[in-house]
């Protein structure tokens, strides 16, 4: 059981954690199996409704990556692999085991890089619309050439949701964080654009129950990417959520959480 202080909306009070000369922010709430969520390129500064729901069933840990939001931006941070090693040591420092590791988009790429290196503290892996892969001809918008509005529109299938999310998130208070997150993302993914050919050839090393969750209408990484991840990771399962863009956890939280619950319940302990 993990005792937690919470704020309005159920958000746990963020704590700071220092590792490799880098202080990061983390939010932790709930009890049960340990679920670590690695956020995507837009950051992990907010306690979102899907996190609140997950924290009712799991001991949910949401770290904010080095280089993002209120976490430090260490000199050593140059590529996604650096974050994979950082989080391996993070799991060790918190002495976590039997961890259900879940990563969204850029966080999914980190999770995959981590899992090809060492699965000893992991019970399962869930990749949600994960970056890191490349498929010739599949749809993959260049987020760095989009205006902020185009970026929101490309993220969601439901365009009304895209606009309401833009209104909620594009505030003057969030401006500095958005720039910081975008700078770090560009540094990590610019070239080759959001994928690592050296990782793809080793995904076959992941001997772990793995679930691939994808929005059927993801424009950042089309559904072919879900097929590819499933094919590259031995025994991986796949759930594709219809009428859903790049972030099913926000756009289709009910279907998303149902898929996660069903999968984790079946992972042998």
């Amino acid at each position: 059981m993990n005792a937690t202080s919470t704020q309005a909306g159920g958000e746990p009070i963020p704590t700071r954690f220092k590792l490799h000369d880098c202080e990061i922010v983390m939010r932790r709430k709930g009890a049960g199996k340990t679920l670590v969520f690695l956020h995507g390129a837009s950051g992990g500064s907010a306690w979102l409704p899907f996190m609140e729901t997950l924290s009712r069933s799991y001991d949910l840990i949401v770290p904010e990556h080095p280089g993002y939001g209120a976490s430090d931006d260490p000199d050593w941070l140059e590529r996604i692999e650096d974050l994979a090693y950082f989080y391996l040591d993070f799991l060790k420092a918190l002495d976590l085991s039997e961890v259900h590791l879940m990563g969204l988009s850029l966080g999914g790429w980190i999770a995959a890089e981590l899992a090809i290196r060492d699965t000893s503290r992991l019970a399962s892996l869930t990749l949600v619309d994960a970056a890191g892969n490349f498929i010739e001809g599949a749809e993959s918008v260049d987020i760095f050439l989009l205006t902020p509005e185009e970026r929101f529109r490309a993220t969601y299938y439901d365009q009304d949701l895209a606009l309401s999310e833009m209104e909620r998130l594009m505030t003057p208070e969030n401006a500095d964080t958005a720039i910081k997150n975008n700078f770090t993302t560009a540094k990590l993914v610019w070239q080759p654009r959001a994928y690592n050919p050296a990782m793809l050839k080793w995904l076959k090393r992941i001997e772990l129950p793995t679930l691939v969750i994808w929005g059927a209408n993801d424009r950042a990484f089309g559904p072919e990417y879900a097929d590819s991840y499933q094919a590259l990771i031995p025994g991986a399962e796949k759930v594709v959520i219809p009428a859903c863009g790049h972030v099913p956890n926000v756009e289709k939280p009910t279907e998303f959480i149902a898929a996660v619950d069903d999968f984790i319940a079946r992972v042998p302990t």
């Binding site: 050439l145 401006a175 540094k187």
Partner: protein
């Protein structure tokens, strides 16, 4: 004051409506809009314009570097500079250019420049630039590494020119077991180095410290003066007084018999340059990491990017000099007193301007402007 004919070599036959429809002439503007028959004619025409300005007494000619754009057709400027080395007989040949961070092997730049300096028997001006942000999209170079790569490539090239080889170079971005380029530059210890920028204080102070000539591009004369003041102050801080020779103003000039005629003639071409060929959305111009977060916020808030300008705005702000010979002389007098530059990089052709008009302009500048200002200090 020294006068250089500065060419961008734009794709002057471009369909301006097609640029408007695409929103920019950079990166996403399809090269299906490029016709090699027209391109071939443009290259030869532009090289002839450069040689013509040399014959009429300009102090030099300058080529430029940009990638994947109709704005300028010189992604590999040394090729054009090489062609010019046989036709420009008297003046200097400058490359502004070469965008150091965009290459994975900066030794090729040390080699290119050394060849050009040999070909011209020491008439090369070697530009070192970062390239504009759009280049980081089109060349696949991480903008986060731009400054680092620039500094490292600069150090490597200078060492390659000044330290006997072979030696080993180990940097963060560049690693060479053997650095030993043949040939070496003709000028000793190396060609003069010019650094153009839009006024970033880091670059200005660095150029002053290194005693490199600094060029300010496409800016209102008041900002040019402010930036040049910054250079002079940085020079004083480094223990010397900057000479006007170290400061170059890059601008466009067009002269006709009267102000009204000059304006009417230049209007479509200068506005095509500024509003179509130079139109770049913010996210293209400033990819994340190319500037500091603070500069990005400042530039975004200023609203200068994507702002439509008329010829009257450009004349008013002193970005260009366009008018009768008397007006042009008065303005240049006023601006050089204000900003204190010793070199002026004149775009004699800009935008869609056809060759007859460009050549008349070169002749008019040579006849009406050069005699009064050449040979002065600043």
């Amino acid at each position: 004051m020294k006068f250089y004919n500065f060419h961008l070599m734009p794709y002057a036959d471009v369909d301006l409506d097609a640029i408007d429809k695409n929103g920019t002439a950079w990166i996403s503007f399809s090269n299906s809009n490029f016709d090699p028959i027209k391109g071939a004619a443009l290259y030869n025409r532009y090289l002839d314009e450069m040689a013509y300005s040399d014959q009429l007494g300009f102090d030099g000619v300058i080529v430029n570097e940009h990638h994947q754009t109709a704005y300028g057709l010189m992604p590999v400027p040394a090729v054009l500079a090489g062609a010019l080395s046989r036709t420009v007989k008297n003046g200097k040949i400058g490359v502004l250019g070469r965008a150091l961070p965009l290459v994975n092997n900066p030794l090729t730049i040390a080699e290119e420049y050394a060849i050009l300096d040999n070909l011209t028997e020491g008439r090369l001006i070697a530009g070192f630039v970062r390239g504009i942000g759009a280049e980081y999209h089109s060349m696949g170079i991480n903008p986060a590494h731009s400054k680092d790569r620039f500094n490292e490539a600069h150090d490597l090239i200078i060492r390659a020119w000044t330290e006997p080889g072979p030696f080993e170079f180990v940097g963060k971005h560049y690693h060479f077991k053997y650095v030993n380029p043949w040939p070496l530059p003709y000028q000793q210890p190396h060609p003069p180095i010019w650094v153009p920028s839009q006024g970033s204080s880091d670059t200005v102070e660095w150029a002053a410290r290194m005693k490199y000539t600094y060029c300010q591009t496409l800016s209102p004369i008041k900002s040019v003066a402010k930036v040049f003041d910054g250079y002079r102050a940085a020079a004083e801080k480094s223990g010397y007084t900057a000479s006007p020779d170290q400061l170059a103003w890059s601008m466009s000039m067009f002269i006709a018999e009267t102000d009204a005629k000059a304006r009417a003639m230049a209007k479509p071409h200068i506005e095509a340059l500024v509003n179509q060929l130079l139109s770049i959305p913010l996210q293209m111009l400033l990819p994340p990491g190319y500037t500091s977060p603070e500069s990005l916020k400042k530039i975004a808030a200023s609203g200068v990017v994507g702002h439509h300008k008329t010829i009257d705005d450009l004349i008013e702000e002193g970005v260009v000099i366009i008018g009768s010979p008397e007006t042009a002389r008065e303005k240049l007098e006023e601006f050089s007193t204000l900003a204190g530059f010793g070199s002026i990089l004149v775009k004699t052709q800009f935008g869609t301007m056809p060759t007859a008009m460009a050549r008349d302009n070169i002749a008019a500048i040579a006849r009406e402007i050069l005699p009064k200002f050449q040979g002065r200090d600043g």
